[in-house]
Symmetry: C2
Subunit: 173 residues, 2 copies
């Protein structure tokens, strides 16, 4: 097995962090990995808000029902969709494109030794609105998720194996 | 830079293949990487159709307007959403979850030396219907995309750098 596959299979959601701050160059590299994702017709209908101020992390942890771990994370990345980036493709495909970028972010964080977890914002209207106000996000930009990233407290967690042969079909359903 | 980041940054869409068949164990490993993606509340609202019969690849290449490369690919994976997998989360998040799985598939293919490209099906109604009929997909299952995978004809293509500093905001928009 190669290293990338090892990392894909060993990545899992991590919600307990030491509280250590993440270096700016690491968080920028992680966002850069997000931007390397494919997008429909290469429109790149995305933007990224890096949160590394403690008060902002705490505010977001209070606003979002399943994001309490942000209190102890070293940073967070809000992956935002830009559906009006072009006339056709961005609006149809921004969720898919931003989700591919989010998966790159999770893998990049894991490869650098950090733990991360994707907490959903879109399509929950209240969460979208609360995050928009907290981070001054324009109305044409949609926060898809808030990804918490931190130094994991427990480095020995074993990911569950999610392989299910019944989810595979050959040539026809 | 670590190997995973190298692979994330060197991955790009590849549409020209030699026509060689992909080994079953490789394509299964690639699908397994897809299943290692995160999903909302770990519902795993997905299923995967592996296409490796030449006639099926050719039929799909004719049905889909931007998937002519399937004629020469060694295989394809149709990533399908299962929105009724549970009562709440699958329906809201299947597009995000299946897109994360699709990105894992693209990266896994790249790490094994194959080239791949994500061709969209959902939300185009005609494409969904055509793929559904060709592959006998039930009405409650939605084909999100068809990912073509093959041995690349040209191994020396350089990916474009998609990093844009203007897409990054710090702590607030």
């Amino acid at each position: 097995m190669n290293t990338l596959l090892d990392l894909i299979f060993s990545r899992h959601s991590i919600r307990d962090y030491t509280g250590e701050i993440i270096k700016n160059e690491d968080i920028e590299l992680i966002v850069k990995a997000g931007m390397a994702a494919p997008s429909a017709v290469n429109v790149q209908p995305w933007a990224f808000i890096i949160i590394n101020k403690k008060d902002k992390l705490i505010n977001l942890s209070k606003l979002l029902p399943y994001a309490k771990m942000l209190e102890q994370s070293g940073a967070a990345i809000i992956v935002c969709g830009v559906p009006d980036k072009d006339m056709h493709f961005a609006n149809k495909y921004w969720i898919q494109d931003c989700s591919a970028a989010s998966e790159n972010i999770l893998l990049a964080a894991h490869s650098l030794g950090y733990g991360a977890v994707w907490t959903a914002v879109y399509p929950e209207e209240k969460r979208i609105n609360d995050v928009r106000i907290e981070c001054n996000i324009p109305n044409n930009i949609i926060p898809l998720n808030v990804i918490a990233i931190g130094v994991p407290k427990n480095k020995n967690m074993i990911p569950i194996d999610k392989y299910k042969i019944e989810n595979i079909h050959w040539n026809t359903w």
